[in-house]
Symmetry: C2
Subunit: 195 residues, 2 copies
């Protein structure tokens, strides 16, 4: 059983995932948790700082650990990214997950224009993910696994964009199959990089 603070973080993370940050109602979340606003405002000074903590302690670690193997694993890039893509696939295993979409993508759409604190945090996470992919691509070029005739920076951003967009389109279509198609295309793209 988690301590109260962690519970607050996770329940509000789910609420944000479902309703967006602006759609979260502190009253309702604490009511569902069986606690009161006293507890909430004991741990977090206000709604935005709660949101920041959710990014720092839940969202960022999750996504960064997801892509980390690209930088450090001994296996080939292709194999590692296949595994990452499959972890994304299992992430959208249920239809409900398809409808709710990617938490990071959702936040990235909603918050940067509205709040600086969110903006810098989402910038850092995205930037870090891109770096991880780019580093992996460069390693694969150096090792001879991949050709040299592509721009690792560009391709890294393209991976990220396609995955995030895949969540978005799958959500619009309410179709897990759509996300699978995007993953499939990304695997083909990866194969095309091989030398």
């Amino acid at each position: 059983m988690l301590d109260t603070r962690s519970q607050i973080l996770h329940k509000n993370f789910e609420a944000i995932h479902r309703n967006g940050f602006q759609g979260v109602r502190a009253d309702k979340v604490v009511a569902e948790m069986g606690i009161t606003k006293g507890a909430l405002y004991h741990y977090f000074p206000n709604k935005f700082d709660l949101g920041y903590a959710i990014i720092d302690e839940i969202v960022a670690p999750h996504y960064l650990s997801l892509w980390q193997p690209l930088e450090h694993a001994q296996k080939g890039f292709a194999q590692v990214i296949y595994e990452v893509l499959d972890r994304y696939r299992s992430f959208v295993a249920t239809e409900e997950q398809v409808i709710l979409g990617c938490p990071l993508t959702n936040l990235t759409q909603e918050m940067p224009p509205l709040d600086e604190g969110f903006r810098v945090r989402l910038y850092r996470v995205t930037s870090r993910m891109q770096q991880q992919i780019e580093t992996g691509l460069k390693k694969a070029q150096l090792s001879g696994e991949f050709k040299l005739d592509f721009n690792p920076t560009q391709v890294a951003f393209f991976y990220l964009s396609s995955i995030e967009g895949g969540f978005s389109v799958a959500k619009a279509m309410q179709s897990r199959a759509v996300f699978e198609m995007v993953v499939s295309q990304l695997k083909q793209l990866t194969d095309g990089l091989k030398s």
Copy 2:
């Protein structure tokens, strides 16, 4: 000069683009317009029906006309999609547009889990866009412009996903250059389809 109803639609479209649907405050929008809520609720019964009208009369026509040339133009697919991609590029011409992102993507992230009326409308637009691309790809395969060894349905979804994701990542990075990179990659992908 537009009539009042059209003005309401366009101003609220901008407000949604900036704040999200849940973030739009009717009071503020009408105040900025120099009208009153009397006018707003004279033309629209409630906030959601206003949102529906914005999709039906502004968002959907815009995106469908954007992709329409793929289905009907006499030119080759590659040339047409280059033009479409360039229209997207000019759409994110200013830094502000980068920060605000793609109106369709934004709405697709925010609304489908919250409201059925939005969900069906956003489904229709996305579905229709995919059809337009898929039809174009099939025509290109029949004409011999493109190879036959790819799945037009999949590739069509991939185009859409990458573009929408490009908006999202460019927004997170606050960088127009990121979107340009995605467009560049999509052009290369298009060239790879040629026979």
